[in-house]
Amino acid sequence: MLRRPFFWIIAVTIALFAAAPHGSDVELRESLILAAVYITLASNLNLMLGYAGYVNFGSIVFFGLGGYFCVYFMGSLGWGLASSLVVSGVAVSAAALVFGLGILRLRGVHFALATIGVNEAVMAFVTNFEPWGGSTGIYLSPELFQPLGGPASALWVIYYLLVAIMGASLYLSYFIKRSKFGLGLLSIGQNEDAAAVLGVPAPRYKALAYSASALLPAVAGGLYFFKGAFVQPADAFDLTLSTEAIVITMLGGQGTIVGPALGAYLYEELRGWLLTSETFANFQLVVAGVLLLLIVQFAPEGLMGFLYRRFPRLRRILE
């Protein structure tokens, strides 16, 4: 495992992310925080989309639920950050296991629609759930940043934690892809019926993958909404975010590990630049749309697919 070059490429990426803003460049940190969140969402989505071939359209429900659990534990129950994050992650992946057993009997677009249904149902429920502030959402007071040394240093702590979560997501995708579980997932993705005939326990593997793909996004959601000191249903369960995660995975190249990560970084930089450039400011939706249309039509295998075709030797180094 350690001999493989890609193992070290991930380590270098994490180190770069951690070192890049080196203490002063706050603006770069904020941009990299968004990139790290997108990479986490896309890599974990890839477990379902790229490996098992299941389009989880509503994957943002894990991110949102993680955010709500964590903010609730810290804001209303006064827990520490660490315990809130751990419990949020575990609670959401357990919930994903339960949801999964239900909707994973579906395939193709029916599964995609079901995930949208789950996300919208959870959002509608949270909007009426008073302990979580109902539609007002939950506000966090700045005092909660004190244990981390006040808002300034707290934002740095949150940044490094998010980079760690991003790294964990990349390694999770990497280890799963090289494991027997990963081989089983990939065979399900290729032809689920044939895989079952060969003995791959499809229902259990799909539920496990669905649950695994929920853990880290939930923790990332907890950090993200703790950082924003406010969570409301419309932000936590925003379908456009999970659609963007799909776009990113397709842009980068589904089924690969570096694909979603590269796609996330490029996408975040593009949207960030579009937003702050005068010429495109109010046309950034149009530009993003046209770009995606071209990719889906002419380079469906995404960036990595294109690179693998042009430089086949690359396949041995990058996964």
Partner: protein, 247 residues
Amino acid sequence: MTALLEVSELSKRFGGLHAVEALSFSVGEGEILGLIGPNGAGKSTVFNLINGVFAPSAGRVAFRGEDITGAAPYRVARLGLARTHQIVQPFAGMSVLDNCTVGACFGRENLPLAKARQAAREAAALVGLEKRLDAPALELTIAGKKRLELARALAARPALLMLDEVLAGLNPTEVAQMVETLRTIRGRGLSILMIEHLMQAIMSLSDRIVVLTSGTKLSEGSPAQVAHDPAVIAAYLGDPEMVRRPP
């Protein structure tokens, strides 16, 4: 001879259509049983009933004494019953080696990845695919894909191998090679249940033959007995009396 596979009174109805009706037969340890019959006799349906792709409407299937009626395909495979598909179902995007490794990983011995790769290489070599291990499955010829189906099933080191027209679509030399491969496999104490239309191949390979027509068992016995059974001839060639009547 203890029965490896025991099928008793198996039936399957799709709405009004009786695809399989009260079918019973068994496969002994180390035996090759041929399953023949005209198109639409329900042969592939029987396979799908045994390995759990369809749940039977009635009847019972036991494998090494354990009742597997209607069990999920992956449970049946885990017990050591592997099968190939009439229409090839390769994992197109994966390499030949990976295809076989899936079989080895999730078959009877549930091998860890490293050992599974080794078993996969052996199975691929057995069917003559050792030179194409890294090629993506979609690049293989139809014959290659047929071999891959077999290799994948073999990699699982099954106790019983169910072959669904593995010779169909092959040219004569490929048929000869495949028959030879089946003979070498047979030598390792593996039992085979085989659907085939190529009479001379199945007649030479099988110890016993079951003839199926429109879902029911028409006849059973050694290849010679079955070949001379008037009912079988009628089913295949029409009424034997016709041979004698003047034109």
